[in-house]
Each structure stands twice: as C-alpha cells, then as structure tokens.
C-alpha cells in the first residue's frame, strides 16, 4: 500500500502517523502550523510545481527563512527524482525491507 512506504517503515515512523499523513485534512491537529505549510508545499510541488502561488509563498516565508525553504525544496525535489527513477525502471524496495512488516 502506498501509505506504508518502505522508506517510512525503515525510518521507524509509526503506522498512526503514516495514516495521519495520508489523510492530513482529518488529522491537522497532529501537526504544527509550520509542518502543515511544508507538507502543502511538498504536495503542490509534486502534483504541479507551477501551482505554488503567492499566498503559499507568504505562508512559507512566515515559517521558514530562505535557506530553510531551499532545504525543503531540495528534499521534495530529490524524492520526486527518486520516485520517478524507481517507477520508470521498476525498482521496488529490497526484499529484506519489505519483510519487516
């Protein structure tokens, strides 16, 4: 299931948090304001990076300085790269990490 990525499992993120992440709108109380802004930034970059509008940008700047926004954009861009790379070449997580369920 997509909500339970091998990476998340490897990182030791709890199932509850993963589900919360999967349906953020129903679990907004579990995240801080800055986390919610960063997560929205991640979603919009992933689905269509040109949709990052001025209001989102203002919110980002309210919570993060320029260097931190660079960090966020790099993480998001890098994992989009890994996802596309893995999908195109049909690479799945190695068996030993799948077994850890």
């Amino acid at each position: 299931m997509a909500a339970h990525t091998a990476l998340a499992r490897q990182l030791g993120v709890s199932e509850a948090l993963l589900d919360a992440l999967y349906r953020i709108d129903e679990h907004r109380h579990l995240f801080t304001e800055s986390e919610l802004v960063a997560l929205r930034f991640a979603e919009i970059i992933t689905t269509g990076a040109r949709e990052v509008d001025e209001s989102l940008w203002d919110e980002l700047q309210a919570h993060f300085d320029d260097g931190e926004i660079i960090e966020l954009a790099t993480v998001i861009g890098l994992f989009n790269f890994f996802n596309r790379f893995a999908d195109a070449l049909q690479i799945l997580p190695s068996q030993d990490t799948m077994v850890k369920e």
Partner: protein, 196 residues
C-alpha cells in the same frame, strides 16, 4: 394404455390430493374415449356412483381390484422415480462440491510457489542492481530501503555516489528539523503512489 393412464391419474389423486378421484376418472374417460370409444369405466357403471367426489362406492367390485393394485404399484414406481431423481441430483451436487474442494486444496498447495515466483518477478527491476558493490549506505536510517535504487544507479558509480552524498547532505545538514524532512519525503512518495 388406458389402464396405465388411469392408474397414474388415480395415484396422483391419492398421493398429492390435487386431483380427486372423480376428476381422475373423468380425465381417464376423456382419454379413453379418444383412444377407444367403446370402453370407459364411467359409461359402464359409474355415472351415478360418483356423485360423491372422493371414492367409488362399489369398491369391492372385481372390476376395481386390478386397477387398484396397479395404482399402488404405480405409486410405488412414481416414488421410486422421484427418489432416483433426488439421489441423482444429490450425486451431481456432491460431485461439484468435491471438485470445488479439490480445487481449493490444489490452490492451497501451490500458493507458496506462486508467491515465490511472484516475489522473484517483482524484485526484477528493468536494469539489474550491481552486486558486490561497496556503497556507503550505512549510518543513514532509511538508506537500506533505497539500496536497490542506488545499486541500479551504480551502473554509473559516480552518479550513485554523488546521489547518496546529496541525499545525506539534504537530510542531515541545515536547520530544518530532520523529522520534518522525513515527513516530506514520505508524503512525496505517498502523493506519487510510489512504494519507495
């Protein structure tokens, strides 16, 4: 022929109570008239005796001894036939159930094999991972999950090595909480419907 039809109708009237005896006899008469108009029990002696609809009053009459036996025999025959049909149907149902359980058993036995082959197929990326490659993946949690990806990338070792370095720098340095970076990485994979 006439007797047989009469017997069947009368036995029906007895076993199922749907056709009463008088009706049975009437039907027989009608059929008998068609077959051979000269002989019909009703014409001979029953027109007055059947005004009560259940049974003929001249039960003791020798004329009725043979049909009555025949009726009994036919009733038994009919029941035997019905029992035969039921047994046949039960046999077919049992057969189908046996086949189903056999199929279930076979599926149960070969399931691990299928799973194994499926796993093998799923582990095949389009470009095979480079084996026996010392990538510096240790130390970073979450890196082991990505080892296949980097081993595939290792067909160009410098690309793989620099990608690993970029990943490590991205996740470890800076002032943003590393936990938030992990959340972002997971969220991106979720939005991309990617297993990584």
């Amino acid at each position: 022929m006439r007797l047989v039809s009469h017997g069947i109708l009368v036995s029906m009237s007895r076993t199922f109570k749907t056709v009463d005896y008088a009706q049975a006899l009437d039907l027989t008469c009608a059929w008998a008239t068609v077959c051979s108009p000269t002989i019909c029990p009703r014409n001979h002696h029953l027109s007055s005796s059947l005004n009560k609809f259940s049974k003929p009053q001249n039960e003791g009459s020798p004329r009725y001894i043979l049909p009555r036996r025949l009726v009994n025999a036919l009733a038994v025959l009919a029941w035997v036939a019905i029992a035969g049909v039921i047994f046949w149907a039960l046999g077919r149902i049992t057969e189908a159930l046996m086949l189903l359980s056999l199929a279930a058993l076979v599926a149960y036995v070969i399931y691990p094999l299928v799973k194994l082959l499926e796993g093998d197929l799923h582990n095949m990326s389009r470009i095979p991972p480079v084996e026996n490659l010392a990538l510096s993946l240790q130390g970073e949690p979450g890196m082991a999950a990505m080892s296949t990806l980097f081993r595939v990338m290792a067909h160009r070792p410098e690309l793989a090595q620099h990608s690993i370095q970029l990943l490590e720098t991205t996740m470890r340095t800076g002032t943003v909480d590393p936990k938030l970076k992990e959340l972002l990485a997971i969220r991106v994979s979720q939005v991309n419907n990617c297993f990584y």
